[in-house]
Subunit: 426 residues, 2 copies
């Protein structure tokens, strides 16, 4: 089957999945967890093939670690499935109810989006997590994983397909794409695919966004800032800067730029330098920073660079407004932090910084679906519509309007003797 | 100023508008209403120029009627502004609140989207309504109205700009585009514009959707269906079919196709024919319809045609599932109606028809923001994400996550002695 045929089948499946009961979906999730346990030896064997091929191809050791799908990773995937089973059915929730007139009742009800295309990195556990999230929310899914994990992913897709079809989930609700060409073909299928969630490198996500008319949920850059305000507690500012920059440098919610109010720069920068250098972080400062500490000079492109590495850019700003302006100009709308003891200044920063996540006196690294308590995470979005920041199940849902009447027609509500609407909340 | 400069200015204004208080926005709306009253004679004079030019250009009489901006239309616009003033500020509403750990509190808070580009038809009152909705929701707006209304729109934009700047709304929050070239230029400015709302013809909306990477909120087609089920009340079915088709034929929520279950077709179709023909509606039927009533034969393209006229296509279906399939295949996801006395069959239809609005036993013409009680309407959306169906103010809002800590860092929540999260609802 080519990708268009798979998409048509997924669309048909999704049209039926909208009416699946919570029990049916949970039964399927339960079956999938059982099948993963049952086929554990086969999964580990398939994964070994991927690992060996990738080692020969000199895949870096952090990537090999992510690729590995062993007993503990499989157990973890199963526990993720069980926690999804424990969650309420997110479909069919009444979001609003209003009587338009006697016997004419309007309900706004949550429902699945339809067909989701997800492109993800080389972690096989992501395949389980994403397909489970789509199933729980009643969506069909087209999956493209990293080619390094092809053997593991193929077997996983087979196992999930079989286990869910035994629970009467419509055929074709899950399909695996195997090549980059498949992905490019998918981008044109806006007739069948309702949303694309690309996870991966900056350049890759940008490529997706620029080459499709299907809505895309995700983020390209994560240029996050920590702004140390004049009213900041010095120790707290250093602690938060270090955690935001260094706790895990390779992720989108790590800080790339530290902004410092000039009134505190003389005291903060030397402390910051000491702490960052102890963590082997290279510092690139603006000209005013250089007057206070001896570091490399930052260039204009440093303000728009996502290092994902032990490098940080530092800029002295003259006012709170300058900090906000810098972030709104150079940032990526992901996560930005203010460290201050002044609640009024904090409010201003948090209202005016146009980012998904705006934090006061804590690390940018908290920007994460699990830490936010959303359960499993679909991804982090810097979109300005639909879903923003860490996105859980609710990002895979939309709503429809259900109106229940008893022969009501609009002619009765227009013209000379028009009846009027009650618009009474139910 | 060219459109790019206007967009940059709008972006800057929008960054400040996010922090406007409800009072400031209401004061501006109040000023605008006052100014419209004050400059009523000038507005009527400007509108007269538009009307005379358009008459010479042989604009059709319904369009001339929409173009007219007289005392009663201005009064109506002012009363719309006053009802917006009466509404709660939609910005800053807490949608979710959860304690992540002691002293670390997360809030999901509604906020404006940013800069909205709206392209609308030749009704000058739409300019007032749209800019007021954007202002109330804290968004900057780029407006392109019909060229027939150019004099009226120019004066309206001037009046609104002046009145709102007196209420300290940031300069540049509203800008008027005047040419089609401006619109095409706007479609490329995804760096500054966050959402486009195109209102107008099918072909025009499609053109917009296919030529921009900015998210678009709207609908191209409105191919709405009435399905008369085997368990329908015959009189009710006829009444709802007539209202859905004829109450106002030129609008997107008018029905274009009637589907009839074969078990009731013999009784329903003759009654329907009589009633539709009394309203001068041309009927185009499928081959099974033709066996029962004498009407024109429908072609395949009839099922995908939005007539917006006194024409209707009619098809006999064998099962409820066939009706659902037909709608999901040929429909536009706008509004679809089932007439039935059977609640189980109604539920199935309403769950499985993948449309923004699914109605039981009432006219498709109820699909409208005012009738739904949403207040003013931004438009009707057939999108699968963000906002669907009639969209009120909430379609112009998104949210941000605000996290308030007190020196919290992620390092404390990872590794061997990791603290755990409380995730306690607040």
């Amino acid at each position: 089957m080519d990708i268009k045929e798979k998409s048509i089948l997924a669309k048909k499946a999704s049209n039926l999945m909208a009416a699946l009961t919570g029990e049916a979906k949970n039964k399927a999730l339960h079956n999938i967890a059982g099948a993963l346990e049952k086929y554990m030896p086969d999964l580990i064997a398939a994964n070994r093939i991927d690992l060996e091929r990738s080692k020969k191809q000199n895949l870096s050791s952090p990537l090999l670690k992510r690729l590995k799908f062993d007993e503990s990773k499989i157990e973890e995937a199963c526990s993720g499935l069980n926690s999804l089973i424990g969650m309420n059915d997110p479909v069919g929730v009444t979001l609003r109810a209003v009587e338009l007139d006697e016997g004419l009742e309007l309900y706004k009800v949550s429902c699945p989006i339809g067909v989701i295309g997800v492109i993800f990195e080389s972690r096989p556990d992501a395949l389980v997590q994403i397909s489970a999230l789509c199933l729980k929310s009643g969506n069909a899914v087209l999956l493209k994983g990293g080619s390094e994990a092809s053997e593991t992913n193929r077997l996983l897709a087979e196992i999930i397909t079989k286990a869910s079809s035994d629970a009467e989930i419509p055929r074709g609700w899950l399909a695996l794409l195997e090549t980059r060409t498949d992905v490019n073909d998918m981008l044109c299928l806006d007739q069948y695919i309702d949303l694309i969630v690309p996870r991966g490198s900056n350049a890759f996500v940008k490529h997706i966004m620029e080459n499709t008319h299907i809505p895309v949920l995700g983020h390209a850059d994560g240029i996050c800032h920590v702004y140390v305000d004049s009213a900041a507690n010095l120790d707290m500012a250093v602690k938060i800067s270090i955690d935001s920059k260094c706790q895990y440098v390779a992720v989108c919610n790590a800080a790339e730029t530290i902004l410092v109010h000039r009134d505190i720069a003389g005291r903060y920068l030397p402390e910051m330098k000491k702490a960052l250098e102890a963590k082997n972080v290279e510092i690139r400062g603006c000209s005013e920073t250089l007057k206070i500490i001896d570091v490399i000079k930052a260039a204009e492109e440093d303000w728009t660079t996502e290092y994902l590495d032990l490098i940080v850019s530092v800029k002295v700003v003259h006012t709170l407004e300058d900090a906000i302006d810098h972030i709104n100009t150079y940032g990526s709308g992901h996560t930005d932090v203010i460290v201050t003891g002044d609640r009024t200044r904090a409010s201003k920063f948090m209202d005016l910084v146009d980012s998904a996540d705006v934090f006061l006196n804590c690390s940018s690294r908290f920007s994460d679906g699990f830490r936010f308590g959303l359960g499993a995470e679909v991804g982090i979005s810097t979109n300005k519509i639909h879903a923003r920041g860490p996105v859980g199940l609710e990002g895979l849902l939309i709503y429809k309007w259900k109106l229940f009447g008893n022969g009501h027609i609009v002619a009765d509500y227009s013209g000379a003797d028009a009846k009027s609407f009650t618009h009474r909340p139910l």
